[in-house]
Each structure stands twice: as structure tokens, then as C-alpha cells.
Point group: C2
Chain length 201, copies 2
Amino acid sequence: MNVTALGYVLLGLLARESRSGYDLAQNLRRPVGFFWAANHSQIYPQLARLEEEGLVEHEVVDQRDRPAKKVYTLTPRGRETLRTWLVEPLTFPTYRDELTLKAYSLWLADRVEAARMLREHAEEHRAREAVCQTYVDDLTDHASEALTRVDTPEFAAYVAAQRGVSIAREARSWCLWVARLLEAQTPLTEAQLRSLPMPPS
Amino acid sequence: MNVTALGYVLLGLLARESRSGYDLAQNLRRPVGFFWAANHSQIYPQLARLEEEGLVEHEVVDQRDRPAKKVYTLTPRGRETLRTWLVEPLTFPTYRDELTLKAYSLWLADRVEAARMLREHAEEHRAREAVCQTYVDDLTDHASEALTRVDTPEFAAYVAAQRGVSIAREARSWCLWVARLLEAQTPLTEAQLRSLPMPPS
DNA sequence: TGTTGCTATGTATAGAATGACATATGTTAC
DNA sequence: GTAACATATGTCATTCTATACATAGCAACA
């Protein structure tokens, strides 16, 4: 029973609601895609593997105005597998951050171009923050009851969306700080170097 | 001239100093590994590919008390390739965060076990923050002159290390927030749900 | 009738990453 | 002597990922 990271993503979505592979692919674009992206060519084979191991089942559902679909449902065994994974230490620890990677070689770059790149990236994170904040607000407005209990899907979605907001703000804050340093006159002052607003420890 | 992310990592390290594959593998564990991890079985073939494309060169260096090594050096063409990549929009956009992924299914988990997992993870980030802060402090203490100019390797290392601190604090802050919610008595109050200390926008 | 577009499910292929396997030199400690 | 350990470089098998290719139903519109 060797489940991959993508496998757990799919189990997590199916734990909330039964879905088709196509639906799962959509979910792995917008809401969940901020944390784990994948496209349909990975999802369909992965679903087949999960079914082989008895973690999901599917049922063909005919539709009137659309092609038929395979609706996948989590099995009790799939649910247990997911529950176990949740509280384990991180299984796939490889962290990758291309932006910080570029930062590490920033001393070679054209100052003006680099500042522009960072400001563009800050803007992307502003947009991402807005999307995540929308999820937070929707849950606060329309599911305030469910949010008071930690065993609801809404609660889990809420803390995940807050993480999205938090990560986007951190990234944006850092991008703008570096952009300002690149655009400032040298020599930089100590105050400028210390001017990164840090999240509270 | 199709350079992979790992390729750029290696070019970025070699731009600072010529190194052997073994040295690069060490660097991709501790300092740079926080942003891009890799092991030697990827590095050696990658170096060969970079050399084929004329971005790096190597020279065999005999050592008295150790086995001989291949010291790789960045070529002018490699330097240009790196410089170009730096200011491009992100080329490898896939973002993956296993922790937020787990959070999304947290409603299924055992509260006590989940809180323990999150506190363990917070502790890991505290340690990571300390390591990154050490780099920041070292640079501040021993390279304050170089930090005033943005075209020094020290400046780039400084902003990258600050990012490490920033990311670790954000992660720790969020983990402890969720752990507190899981350990609190239900129903949760609105104040508790809003109590995540956010990095400034 | 044809074209565009969304739904829906797959395969093929090439590249990348992981972990295991494999080898060799030299130092230090027992 | 030999065992453990750090340095040093590589390969191999398997798995994972990304991109493109491929097919098909149905609706809306021109």
C-alpha cells in the first residue's frame, strides 16, 4: 500500500465528496492547486492505482447533456489510509523554491531588470492572496457554524486558506523589500538592510 | 541549451566559487538545500550535461591526503545563461506544500495526534529559522561592507537567508495557531479563529 | 454543416528525482 | 590488522512528472 503524494491529494478531495477524474483535475488547478498542482494525465493513472489497492471505487454515471463520467468514491480503507498519513511526519520533505534560488544569484543580475521581476512576482502573490482571502471570507460568511468545530471540512479548508494568505503575504513582503534594496542608491544603510517586515515569531 | 532547475542551482553555486561535485552535493544539503535539495546521484550526471553544453568546465585536481577530485568552473557562457535566467519569470512554477495539503484533510484526523504533529513541525521550523538566522548574523558581522552593495555574493546570500528566516517564522506561526485551535475546547470562538498572527501586508 | 468550446477519459514519451548499488582512497581509532 | 568514517565519483532501476498526442460526446452558434 504505497501511496504517493498525489494519491493522498486525491484521497483528501474524495473524502469530502465523490468526484470524477475530470472534477479532480479542475480542483487541482484552482483551490488545491496552490498547494499541489497536477494535470489530468497524472490523475487518471493514479486513480486506477488507488482503485487497484482498494482505496477508492468508481461507478460509471451517464449524463444527459454531457459524456458519461466515472465517479470515484473513497472506501473505508482509503479513509483509514488518509487518516494515518495525516498525523505522520512529512513523508515527502523535498522543499523547492525557485525564487529564493534566483535570489541567491541576484548579485549577478541587472539591477533594474531584477527589481522588475521581483515586483511582478509580488503582484502575482497579491492576486493569489486575494483568491485565498476570498475562500476565507466565504467560509466566515456562509459556514460560521461549521468553523466552530475542528472536525468539519470547512474548518480544514479555513486553516488551509489562511495558510495560503499567510504564505502569499510573506512572499510579497519579501519581494518588495528586495526590489526596494535593488532600486536604492548604494551604499545601502543598515536600516535598509533591516527593513524587512518579518512575520511575528 | 535547455538548462534544468538543478542546472541553474549548480551554475549559481559555481558562479561564486569553483567546486567539485562532492562539494556541490554538500552545499545542496545544508545552506542551499533549504531552497533546492538534491543528492549526488543527480548532480554528477547534471554536471556532465552542463559541460556538454559548454556552461562549465572541469579540471582534475590531485590531493595528497584525499582522493583526486574534478573541480568544475563556470564558463563565460554559463555565466550569461545564469544571468538571463535570473530576471525571467519563474520557469518551474509547480508549487508543492505537503503540510497545507494535510491541513486540508485535518478534519478527519485525531485532534491530539494532529496537534502533536503540528507542534513537532513548528519545532523543526524553529530550528531551521535558527540556522538561517546564523547565516544572517554571520554576514552582518563579518561582511557588513559587502552587504552595502547589491552586486556582491554576500548581499544575495543575505536576502536569501532572510527569506529562509521569514518562511520558517511564517510556517511556525501557522502551525502553532492550528495546534492551539485543535487543543481548544469547542465551539471555537471567532476571536480564536482570527488569532493567526499574519505577516504585514 | 461546420467550427468552436467545454466535458470527459485516456496514452505516449521524454525528462527528472529517489534510493539503492558500486567502487576507491586515505585517516583515525581500536 | 581491521573497522569505521569522510572524501570522492559514478551507475541503475524505478517511480514521478510534464508535455503533447489522441479520442469522443454534446451544445451553441454562425
